[in-house]
Amino acid sequence: MQSARGRASAVIDLLIIVALGGCQQQINAPAPSFQAPAAGRGEQPIEVMHWLSSGAEASALKVIRDRFDRDGGRWHESAMPSVAAVNAAAMDRLLGGNGPEIFQVSVGSRLQELAKYGLVRPIPLNASELDVVLPDIIAHAAKRNGQYIAIPVDIVGENWLFYNEAVLARVGLQVPKSWDELLQACAALAASGKIPIALGGQPWQERILFNSIVLGVGGRTFYRRVYEQLDRNAMESTQMLEAFRIFGTLRKYVDEGSPGRPWNLATAMLIRGEAAFQFTGDWAKGELLAAGIEIGHGIGCTLTPAPDRAYVMAADAFAMSASASADALAGQVLFMRTVLDRDVQAAFNRVRGSIPARVDAPDAGFDICARLAMSVIRDREAQLVSTGLFGLSGGMSGAIDDAVSQFWNEPQMGAEEGRRLFVETVGAFK
């Protein structure tokens, strides 16, 4: 009897220990390494919290760091594995009044909310000088009350079509110039036993494909009406119906293993020649480079078919914590100046695979896709918002993902139903 009770309580103790151990790990894990600043050694070092932790990203960050060091600044890093980790850790510490002096952020509604609560420090640089060199929609999203609250360092584009040249050549296909051509190409590829489209089946990736179709069907003015003005008439238009029709037709050109697949595995399918096309952002170039592929040799890229030139953009930026001490301000401003430097932006983005946020950065040394993108965004009309990362509130952007993903994953849902679902879901969040 006694031993039985002993055993039972030992088991329960064990469970408690396991549970506590788990808690402790969770508490310890996100705590950033924070070295106490050494007193009395020249300029106050600052802490930079960021998610640039993969190989290419880390090398890109080193470009900024080298320049910053050269100009007399000192920083220690809190590198995080993901955007979500930085968001969570930076938020906790900002609220605790101990925010990292500099932290990475996507320009958009989250940044604006941080500013609304006075958690980020306005950047004491001349706003009108910056307005000239940054794309309008990005400048707008990085400012509050006419002052910059974050400095964008790069632009990532989402309306890219990557293709395997050898697979297309084997079936005798050209790179499609319109969505009709793309549908025909997919039919031919499917008939030859290839997977036409390597799709990462997560809501945000499905949305990237859909938004490319919206742009392709309606053009950039229409895209703006839908996603910048949230114009109900545009959402209920025949163009939207056509977009859903094409999107629905593409379901059968995606393999059944797609749901849940991360984007880099979809890129790997393209590299191995199992699939012909991938619709994803220019971050895929990092994966290609890591596989030893030069863009345009084996794997090509082009903007997704559209009646006019346009670039669906999102931007990474750095913001300054408002709670940092006055001593740290010099370091914070030096960091921002460094990030804003034209040559630093060019060098950073050559390594990272994205394009500089400054439209006047030199394009020498960039790959063919990046040069195309840099020329496209010089036209102000071509600058479009990504619904995923900025331009819209988090709830609205999520609602769009929900509607698009639900339509994509319910094959029996027709185009008209899709359009209605979209209008209803987005309307509920307005």
């Binding site: 009897m1 039972a8 849940g260 709830g395 994509w408």
Partner: protein, 319 residues
């Protein structure tokens, strides 16, 4: 007859107080009673429980009546968030999934756990060695379980692909990517992981069963399975209850498993309320909407546990 289960109950409830406590208190040197020191010792734990559980839960409910976005904001807007919540098709999907996932996991773990416990209990030889096999999955985190199962069950990379490669092209293992089945995959993976806990609980309970029951059953010629079903199971009712409570807690918070296994997909076909809440709170700057979802979850759990509270009270009065 005194079983582990009953002694467990005494220990947990602490009522009625044991005779020793009712005896005239011997005053310790400080002049205070035992009861005082007991209460004092419990004070920190009690405070933590009150602040962390009741306090934070109340705060979450409070936030659900506001228009908070990224950060808490105390502009009260009544039940608006609940209206938005229940007009969301995705929220309803998560509730339906929770019902399926919860039922399958609860029934599966309890049945399988009890069955395994019976088998190991009767072997008599080296029960712990066998028990270890089934409890090992528990030492794997839900994230790892999710990823490994995802590899196995994804039709393009897992079992189906292997079977097709070796010529068995008729085999279809595609539940993971089917809208109407993916939540069952999550539940099955959960069973694989959690059955060990149920089993070990039942084993612990069984080791306290009086041997005379077995002797009597042997004399009467009752087959072993009937002893387990009709005699031992009722004796272990408190273990069943404990098992249910632990599983309900696991079900309510199961966020990481679905995240790693299906990512809530295809689309959000296998989404669970916890994932909905976390996503809206921390990724979509919809703190208040997430809080309203969390409040509904809490209410569901409270409703689920209320029969237990009611039963205990009823029994307490009958004594």
């Amino acid at each position: 007859m005194n079983t582990t289960a009953e002694s467990c109950e005494e220990r947990v409830s602490g009522e009625p107080p044991s005779p020793r406590l009712l005896a005239p208190p011997e005053l310790p040197p400080g002049g205070r009673t035992d009861a005082f020191w007991t209460r004092l010792a419990l004070l920190p734990a009690g405070t933590i429980a009150l602040v962390c559980f009741a306090g934070f839960a109340a705060w979450t409910v409070l936030i659900s009546f506001t228009d908070s976005g990224l950060l808490p904001d105390y502009g009260f807007i009544g039940l608006h968030q609940y209206q938005r919540l229940f007009s969301s098709g995705r929220w309803w999907t998560t509730l339906r999934n929770l019902a399926i996932f919860g039922t399958v996991l609860l029934v599966g773990c309890t049945t399988l756990g009890y069955l395994l416990a019976c088998l190991i209990d009767r072997r008599g030889g080296a029960p712990i060695a066998w028990g270890v096999v089934f409890i090992l999955p528990l030492s794997v985190s839900f994230i790892v379980t999710g990823i490994v199962w995802q590899w196995m069950l994804n039709p393009s990379t897992g079992l189906q692909a292997v079977a097709h490669e070796i010529g068995w092209s008729g085999l279809r293992v595609d539940w993971l990517v089917r809208r109407d089945r993916s939540i069952f995959v999550v539940a099955i993976a959960g069973i694989w992981q959690q059955t060990g806990v149920s089993m070990i609980l039942f084993l612990a309970g069984m080791s306290g069963i009086d041997h005379n029951i077995w002797r009597a059953a042997t004399v009467d010629g009752i087959p072993a399975w009937r002893v387990y079903v009709t005699i031992i199971a009722p004796l272990l009712r408190h273990v069943f209850l404990l098992n249910t409570i632990l599983l309900v807690a696991t079900i309510a918070k199961s966020f990481d498993l679905v995240l790693a296994l299906t990512g809530g997909g295809p689309g959000f076909a296998s989404d669970l309320p916890a994932r909905f809440v976390v996503e809206h709170m921390f990724e979509r700057q919809e703190l208040a909407l997430g809080a309203s979802g969390a409040s509904v979850m809490m209410l569901t759990v409270l409703l689920g546990l209320s029969p237990y509270v009611y039963l205990r009270r009823a029994r307490g009065e009958s004594r």
